[in-house]
C-alpha cells in the first residue's frame, strides 16, 4: 500500500494538451475515483501512474518516490483494463498466476495464492477454462483476481465495469468496494459514470478538459459543487443551471422574482437547482415543456427557459404537461449561485 501523488503533472500529445498541471494526492488505502467525460484526461492520468505514459512535465510519486523513469514492471502496481486484457492463450489459473510467475514465485506458493484468490472471487470452478469460454462478468473477475494475487501497492482500474450489463455492473460495483475495503489497497478507479463514482469512491476527483475541477467526498461534491461543471455533472440528473439576476438582494430567474434573497451576490449569476429543489406549480418561473421521462414511480418533466434546461420531478399519477406547453416552476430550496462568467461558486 502506498500514497500516490501527481505533482503539477502536464501531458501533451503533440500540440494537444491532455492534462494541465494536475496536482492530486491519493492517500494510503484510499479509494479515489477519477471522474469526467470522454477526453478529459482521466485515463491518461491513470496510465501515467502505471508507467504506460510519461508526463510531459511534473512528477508522479508512488510511496513518496518519483516514478517518472521507472518501467511499468518495476512499479508494483496492478491494473484492470476496460477490456480486461486477459491472456487469451492461457487458462484462468495461468492468467491469475502470470504476475507471480514473472516474479519467480515458487510453484507451491503460486498454487496456494491462486486457490485463495479464486476462492475469494468465486472462480474455483473456472480455473481450467480459457478466457473465451467465460462471460463478461467472469472475465472481469479474472482480471480482478490477477490484480489482487500479487498484492500490489496500488490498484488502477480503467472503466472496468463499462462492458457489463446494468445488473451485473451494480453487483460488481459493490463487490469491488468490498474487496478494496478488505484488502485496504490504494485504488484509483477511472470512470465517466457519476453513479459509479458516487457509490464507490471515498473521494472523487472531477476532471474536465485536462483540468482538475474539484476533489472531495461524494457528499461534498453533491452538496457543494465548486463550479457549474461539477454541478451539472454530479447527481442523477445533474443540477439545472439557469441564467439569473440578483437585484437588490432578491433572486430573479427568467425575469420572474423568486422568494429567495440574502444570497450574498448581486448582478448576473447562474443558479443551480437540484431536481428535489423545484416543483411544478400554477405560477412561478415560466418554461416550455420539452418532454416527459417516465421512470415508474415518478416522472421527470424536461423544460427550457431560453437556452437553459430545467428538470422537475413529478408524481407518476399527476397530470403530465404536453410537449410545447407552458409550465411553471417553483423553487422549494435555496439554489446555489455561480459566477455568470467564470462559472465558479459564489455567494452563500
Amino acid at each position: 500500500m502506498a500514497t500516490v501523488a501527481f505533482n503539477h503533472v502536464t501531458k501533451k500529445f503533440g500540440e494537444t494538451s491532455v492534462l494541465n498541471g494536475l496536482d492530486l494526492e491519493v492517500t494510503d488505502g484510499e479509494f479515489l475515483v477519477l471522474l469526467g467525460p470522454s477526453g478529459c484526461g482521466k485515463t491518461t492520468a491513470l496510465r501515467m501512474v502505471a508507467g504506460l505514459e510519461s508526463p510531459t512535465s511534473g512528477t508522479v510519486t508512488i510511496g513518496g518516490s518519483v516514478v517518472n523513469d521507472v518501467a511499468p514492471q518495476h512499479r508494483d502496481v496492478a491494473m484492470v483494463f476496460q477490456n480486461y486484457a486477459l491472456y487469451p492463450h492461457l487458462s484462468v489459473a495461468k492468467n491469475i498466476e502470470f504476475p507471480l510467475r514473472q516474479r519467480d514465485v515458487s510453484a507451491d506458493v503460486r498454487a496456494k495464492k491462486v486457490s485463495e484468490v479464486a476462492d475469494m472471487l468465486g472462480l474455483t470452478e473456472l480455473l481450467d477454462r480459457k478466457p473465451r469460454q467465460l462471460s463478461g462478468g467472469q472475465r472481469q473477475r479474472v482480471a480482478l483476481a490477477r490484480a489482487i494475487v500479487r498484492e500490489p501497492v496500488c490498484f488502477l482500474m480503467d472503466e472496468p465495469l463499462s462492458n457489463l450489463d446494468a445488473t451485473l455492473r451494480a453487483r460488481t460495483r459493490s463487490e469491488i468496494v468490498r474487496l478494496q475495503h478488505e484488502l485496504g489497497t490504494t485504488t484509483i478507479f477511472v470512470t465517466h459514470d457519476q453513479v459509479e463514482a458516487m457509490t464507490m469512491g471515498d473521494r472523487i476527483a472531477v476532471l474536465n478538459a485536462g483540468d482538475l475541477q474539484q476533489v472531495g467526498t461524494p457528499t461534498e461534491l453533491f452538496a457543494n459543487p465548486a463550479n457549474v461543471f461539477v454541478a451539472g455533472f454530479i447527481g442523477n440528473p445533474g443540477m439545472s443551471l439557469l441564467a439569473s439576476e440578483v437585484v437588490n438582494g432578491q433572486l430573479s430567474i427568467g425575469g420572474t422574482p423568486t422568494t429567495f434573497s440574502g444570497l450574498g451576490v448581486s448582478g448576473a449569476v447562474t443558479v443551480g437547482v437540484r431536481i428535489d429543489g423545484v416543483q411544478l406549480g400554477s405560477s412561478g418561473i415560466a418554461a416550455i415543456c420539452d418532454g416527459v421521462e417516465v421512470l415508474g414511480a415518478e416522472v421527470h418533466v424536461l423544460g427550457h427557459l431560453g437556452d437553459d434546461q430545467i428538470i422537475v420531478r413529478q408524481a407518476a399519477s399527476a397530470p403530465r404537461p404536453k410537449i410545447g406547453e407552458q409550465i411553471f416552476v417553483e423553487l422549494t430550496a435555496q439554489p446555489l449561485c455561480f459566477d455568470a462568467v467564470t462559472g465558479l461558486r459564489v455567494g452563500t
Binding site: A50, G51, L52, A71, P72, Q73, R75, V77, A78, M79, F81, Q82, N83, A85, L86, Y87, P88, H89, F98, P99, Q102, R103, K130, P131, R132, R146, R150
Partner: protein
Amino acid sequence: MTTIRQRRSETVLALCLVAPALILLSVFLIYPFFKNFTLFLYHAPPYPGLPSKWAGLSQFFDTITSTSFLEGLTATVIYTVLVVPIGVFLGLVLAVAAHQKLKGMAIYRTIFATTAVSSVAVAAIVFGTFMNPVLGLLPWLGIDTNPTILQNPTWAIFAMALIGLWQFIGLSFILFSAGLQSLPEEVLEAAKLDGASPAKAFFTVTIPLLSPTIFYVFTVGVIAAMFTFGQMDLLIGPGAASAVHVNTLAYQIYQYAVTTPNPGVAACISIALFILTAMVTLANFRFLERRVNYDV
C-alpha cells in the same frame, strides 16, 4: 415484382464482377490442373502432331523413381530448408525491430518490404552481379571465386537460397508487421504491468498471440519455396542446373514443359510435386497447428 427484378439484376451484376477472375482462374489454373491428370497418362509423341501413346501409371512411377527426380527432390528440400526457417526468423526479427516506436522507422519498413515486391528477375540480376567473379563483391572481399559460386556444385544451392531468402524476408516481414499491429495493445501492456521483462513478455505473450501468423508465414513459405525455379533459370540455366545440384522439381517441370517438351513427364513431376506439397502442408496443419492459438 420489384424485389425479384432487383435480385436478378444484383445476380447479374455479381456474375459480371466475378467473371474476370473466374475466366483467368479457369484458363490458367483450373483447366491446366485437370489437364495434368490426362497428360500424365500418355507418352509424348516423338514428333509434334503425332498421336500420344497411352502409358498408364508406368510413366509416373518411372519418373518419380528416376535419378533426376530424386536429385530434383533433394535440391527442392535443401532449398526449402535453407529459405523458410531462416526467412521466418529474420522476417519476425525485422518486424519486431520495425514495430518499435522510433524515429525514421517508416523508411526501414519500406526498405524491408521492398524485397517482396521485387521480381525474381530483378533479384537474380542484383545477386548475379554481386556473385560475378569479375565485377562482384566476392573478389573485392578477397574470396576465391574459381570456380564461380554459380558453377560450384556445393555453393550454387546456397546462392539460389540466398536470393530466395532475400525475396521471402520481405513477404515474411510484411505479414509479421501486420500481425504485430493487430495484437491487442492492452494485453501487451498488462504483461508489462504484471512484471514481465520485454524478453519474457515477447516469448510468453507476443509469440503465442502471433502464432497464427507464424504458422501462416511458414506454410506459405514452404509452398512458395517448393515451386521456385526463377533464379535457377536466369542465373544457371537448364544445361548446368543438374551439374550444380540446383535442378529443383519446379525447374524440371519447366524444362520438360518448355525447353525440351515432354508434356507427359512434366505432368508426372507436377502431380508428384502437388502431392508432395499437399503432404507437407497437411503435416504442417497436423503437427504445427495444434500449437497455434487462435484466441484473441
